[in-house]
Symmetry: C2
Subunit: 106 residues, 2 copies
């Protein structure tokens, strides 16, 4: 797993086949606690598998009876070593854009 600074506020979590889903889940939960969202990027089936497992695990880490983690998948054209590749980006966040510990009172 590589964490790349995307902006001063938000990073992209680049997950690979060899990434540990538990470690990625911790990073996802941390990004959601800090920013309300996690941007995960993968290339290939093995990497996507680790990323989706991580989201299911992160749901447990953030469990407080309120948050519901969802993924919004997008295709992304990227370049690796000068070659065009199609990555999958998963934007992970609470369904209602809530932050952990900041429950809305609707």
């Amino acid at each position: 797993m590589t964490i790349t600074s995307h902006s001063p506020q938000q990073e992209i979590l680049r997950v690979s086949t060899g990434s540990n889903p538990t470690a990625v889940a911790g990073a996802v939960a941390g990004a959601i606690r800090n920013h309300g969202t996690a941007h995960v990027q993968v290339v290939g089936a093995g990497a996507l598998n680790q990323a989706v497992k991580a989201v299911a695990i992160a749901q447990g880490y953030l469990e407080d009876g309120e948050l519901e983690l969802i993924c919004v998948p997008h295709f992304a054209d990227i370049e690796i070593d000068g070659e065009a590749r199609t990555a999958i980006r998963l934007d992970v966040e609470d369904r209602q854009h809530r932050l952990p510990g900041h429950h809305s009172n609707l």
Copy 2:
């Protein structure tokens, strides 16, 4: 891709490595049009890859400027040929539980 009747109202889409993401996307879009949600089940990285691609493609099929397809991933314990396996279930639906063509007027 196998479609298994889960209840009279709703089916589970069982996606495999060999499934065509475009065909799965059509089935996902159809389930969302009819029921507001699609239940996709996969075992293994290749199958998950086809399923997530299908969700990204289905977003385009349902594009009307309103719907935003999201996935909620869960682990599911299933049995295949008498062997215990861990599947991943993706519940796919609009972020605000909207149906295509049925926009809420909040």
